[in-house]
């Protein structure tokens, strides 16, 4: 019998711990498929964030290290500078990357670190239980914005991909989503391209993935996926934000 579908070779058999409807499992799988297709499992090193995906090392046969919250790109920098021949990626949530780790990601991008960052933006803190993220939308209710995010008091959803795009060290930045099959196919293409740019030693590459967190958004899985299309994308439109790979 011909096998037509299976899990990526570089992933383990351990079942995901993620909540029903969560997008992390999809993003993990896309990374796994890309690593397999590029044939880089034995020379890839990952740095997961502090947040829901902290234990992503359970799901891959890939060397990985934890990093302190937000310091992920600094740890990845240390790894890449020791092993310039390896493929180093960070996997970061909106808290890790766009709040506490703002300094590290901006300077890693600006140095043109040859790393690839997968930035999962679901507009809410997951692991700590539904607090405001820097990417939480104006008016969005969270446990720390019970009346909705008030821009006058706490500012606006931060557009970190657009910010990183103006650094000269960044080569490729694209925003994708994993809320429906058509978007997932595009997301995989973007992730693959981001890794290829590192393999070509071009500079910093990042894919921002809009992802669903039904539990902390207080929505069903289906509604959370729809919310990304109908609401989140108004602030965070999909598309290529920067691409200097052809230059």
């Amino acid at each position: 019998m011909k096998k037509i579908f299976g899990k990526p070779e570089c992933m383990t058999d351990k079942p995901f711990h993620y909540c029903p409807g969560c997008g992390h499992g999809i993003v993990h799988r896309l990374i796994g498929e890309v690593v397999d297709e590029l044939g880089i499992q034995d020379r890839t090193i990952g740095v997961p964030p502090v947040g829901c995906a902290v234990v992503m090392y359970h799901y891959f046969n890939i060397d990985m290290t934890e990093a302190p919250h937000g310091r992920t790109p600094a740890v990845a920098t240390g790894i890449k500078r020791v092993h310039p021949d390896k493929v180093v990626f960070t996997y970061q949530g909106d808290g890790d990357l766009a709040a506490i780790g703002t300094g590290e990601i901006i300077h890693a991008a600006n140095r043109g670190e040859r790393i690839t960052t997968i930035f999962v933006n679901n507009a809410v803190y997951g692991m700590t239980g539904g607090q405001m993220a820097p990417t939480t939308l104006v008016g969005q209710k969270t446990t720390t914005t019970p009346l909705g995010r008030d821009a006058r008091l706490i500012g606006y959803p931060i557009k970190i991909s657009e910010m990183l795009a103006i650094t000269d060290g960044s080569i490729y930045i694209e925003r994708v989503a994993v809320n429906k099959p058509a978007n997932i196919i595009k997301a995989k293409k973007a992730i693959k391209k981001a890794f290829q740019i590192q393999l070509e030693d071009r500079g910093f590459s990042m894919v921002e993935v809009l992802s669903q967190c039904p539990v902390n958004l207080g929505l069903t899985s289906q509604k959370a996926a729809e919310w990304i299309d109908n609401t989140l994308m108004k602030t965070y439109p999909l598309g290529v934000i920067k691409d200097k790979s052809g230059e």
């Binding site: 020379r43 740095v47 060397d63 990093a67 302190p68 240390g78 500078r81 020791v82 300094g103």
Partner: protein
């Protein structure tokens, strides 16, 4: 013949690291350790090593984390306020049992303080500093030569015990120039770093983590590292004893203060006062047993520090009331003179 050069303490730390095979340095400028950062930039440039002036101390210590996790000999340096910023990373590095060398050329605090020398980060260095139960091997060199020797040795100790090592100097030691013998560093045998991140080729994946959620797992990990600390306490204590055999009064001091105290001992001896000096070189593990033993046979101890009284607590813990323990300290960048210390001893009520 061993090459002899005139060098400042900060440079000696840098050369010690280079000679020990450190090719990865990450740092952020702060006075009074800037000569070290510049030295590493120059030397690593010559040698094709990695030098990054990071965006912050937080980034620097975490670059060290990544480089160390990848199997490299890595170092960062800073001075007091910058070392405070590194504490989060240091706790993670200690928890993950990663070897690295961290240099603190102490300046006066608290707060932004001053760029003048100080020993006010003793507690931070030897009692933990960051969160959780952990220890740094902490070395208190007292000369430019010792800064070189001990920095080189620190890399070996870090690898041997898979533990961060702190070189605890001060602005005085970092800035002053002395003759330095650039001795060749002997490569001692160490086990291969099979735990390092190198890519999971022909082996299962290596994972470096400090999050331990399974019931009992974190307690087991804590026990494991505490057992290691006990082993280090058994194997690593170093100190210098000066004229202690017949001494009635013992000075206890480390680093810059110990140098000054050594002169005070000679001045006191000239006046017929039987003084001696114990100079801890390893500040953790602390030479408690030596101090405890000597405290049975003397009239009193005077601990001298450039702070409000920090190491004196470890002296008291060692002595456990066997003899009086006095303290003389200068703060906020004040450096005691040998005469001040002599006067302090003469003013003590000694029974």
């Amino acid at each position: 013949m061993v090459e002899k050069v005139l060098m400042c303490g900060n440079g000696a730390v840098g050369e010690g690291a280079i000679q020990a095979g450190c090719r990865h340095y990450f740092g952020y400028p702060i006075t009074p350790q800037n000569e070290l950062t510049a030295y590493m930039a120059e030397r690593l440039g010559e040698l094709g090593g990695v030098f990054i002036q990071s965006e912050s101390e937080l980034a620097a210590i975490n670059m060290v984390f990544g480089a160390s996790a990848s199997g490299a000999r890595a170092m960062t340096s800073s001075s007091s306020p910058g070392i405070s910023l590194k504490q989060e990373g240091i706790s993670y590095i200690a928890a993950a049992e990663l070897p690295c060398v961290i240099v603190n050329i102490m300046r006066a605090g608290p707060g932004l303080g001053d760029i003048t020398p100080s020993q006010a980060d003793y507690f931070q260095a030897v009692k933990g500093g960051g969160h959780g139960d952990y220890r740094l091997i902490t070395i208190g060199p007292a000369s430019v030569q010792e800064l070189y020797d001990w920095t080189a040795k620190a890399f070996y100790l870090a690898d041997k015990y898979r533990n961060p090592v702190m070189i605890l100097g001060d602005g005085f030691l970092g800035q002053m120039m002395e003759p330095l013998e650039v001795k060749k560093i002997e490569e001692l045998k160490l086990p291969p770093k099979t735990w390092a991140l190198t890519g999971a080729k022909d082996r299962s994946a290596n994972i470096i983590r400090t999050l331990m959620l399974k019931v009992g797992e974190l307690e087991e990990h804590n026990k494991k590292i505490q057992d290691k600390y006990k082993r280090i306490e058994k194997e690593l204590i170093e100190y210098e004893a000066v004229l202690t055999d017949d001494a009635e009064i013992i000075l206890v001091a480390y680093g810059t203060c110990a140098r000054i105290c050594k002169e005070s001992v000679f001045l006191l001896r000239k006046e017929g006062i039987k003084a001696g000096l114990i100079r801890p070189i390893t500040l953790w593990p602390y030479p408690s047993a030596v101090i405890r033993k000597i405290s049975n046979n003397i009239k009193c101890i005077l601990t001298v520090e450039m702070n409000a009284g920090q190491m004196v607590e470890d002296v008291k813990l060692a002595v456990m009331g066997r003899c009086p323990v006095h303290f003389y300290g200068r703060m906020g960048g004040g450096v005691p003179t040998s005469k001040e210390i002599v006067d302090e001893i003469k003013g003590l009520e000694i029974k």
